[in-house]
């Protein structure tokens, strides 16, 4: 049980039971502002001229932003290992997809047989 004001119009505090699996609420505004800051950084970084550098910077920032949403907005930080394993497996499948199809799609010179 915890004390919360369930109605901002009332001056007295009302005791409200917590949900059984309560996992706490981080400072959402702080995380939201951090996300907006990173978003602004993404847009600024995209103004660089080298596409490969832009790719690594903006994709890196996207990974940080996605992780922040997962950990704090989706409360993954407080979820059991089972959820982590499930998401980890999904990412592993994507990694296999990338590694497995990379040589077929992107030309890799060392795989080419030199012409006689």
């Amino acid at each position: 049980m915890d004390k919360h004001s369930s109605n901002p119009g009332l001056e007295h505090e009302v005791v409200v039971p917590k949900e059984p699996d309560y996992h706490g609420h981080p400072n959402y505004l702080k995380i939201y502002l951090t996300l907006l800051g990173l978003f602004a950084l993404t847009v600024v970084a995209s103004l660089l001229h080298n596409p490969l550098i832009v790719f690594f910077i903006v994709f890196g920032i996207s990974i940080i932003k996605g992780t922040l949403v997962l950990l704090y907005f989706m409360h993954l930080k407080w979820e059991p290992k089972l959820i982590w394993i499930m998401l980890g497996l999904a990412l592993l499948i994507l990694l296999f997809l990338f590694i497995g199809t990379y040589p077929d799609i992107v030309p890799v010179q060392r795989y080419l047989v030199p012409k006689a």
């Binding site: 919360h4 369930s6 109605n7 409200v16 917590k18 949900e19 699996d21 309560y22 996992h23 706490g24 609420h25 959402y28 505004l29 939201y32 996300l35 907006l36 978003f39 993404t42 847009v43 995209s46 596409p51 832009v54 790719f55 903006v58 994709f59 920032i61 996207s62 932003k65 996605g66 949403v69 997962l70 907005f73 989706m74 407080w78 979820e79 059991p80 290992k81 089972l82 959820i83 499930m86 998401l87 497996l89 999904a90 990412l91 499948i93 994507l94 997809l97 990338f98 199809t101 990379y102 799609i105 992107v106 030309p107």
Partner: protein
Amino acid sequence: MEKIKKLTWREIPQARLAVWTLIAGEFVIFGGLIVMYILNRLKYESWGEMAQHTNVWAGTINTFVLLTSSYFVVKAHEAAVHKNKAQIKKWIWLTIVCAFMFLGIKSYEYTHEIMHGFTLPGKHLVAEGLGVESRYWSFYYTMTGLHGLHVIAGALALFFVMRNVTKTGKNYQRIEAAGLYWHMVDIIWIFLFPLIYLIH
């Protein structure tokens, strides 16, 4: 400071477990498309030229809208913990407004692009001998279109859950479950936006 007990896998509510399973599946679907897009983008430099035809301003505004909607959803979840129906209604409606804004901006973008001949089959580009370039637009419409359908599904889920919770005064945990789905929609866009719009 309050110490928060971590749940075991047996204690996690079924609704949340179900949504997390769905999210893992969605990550594979969208992740697969993103992986293929990256590989093709590495192969075809001309895709960068095609990306210049997208409306960066519209994409930027839409990213801001989705990030803001994610904040509204966590506020709705916080209100659900306190069983505050008025606050739940307020935050969910704000999220739904964001969903409409996102779809409206996306429709404007689609109209603009289609009018310039950048369509899903890309017949106009193929006729000009730009078959490779037309594939960029196939990816563009598939990824953003599928994402748009998820925005619609997420907004509908939030609406029906909100209506049920505010009418019955029960099932407050459903707000979090529907919210999880909405955050997933946001995460996908976080990756789509720079890949499609910013890397030229």
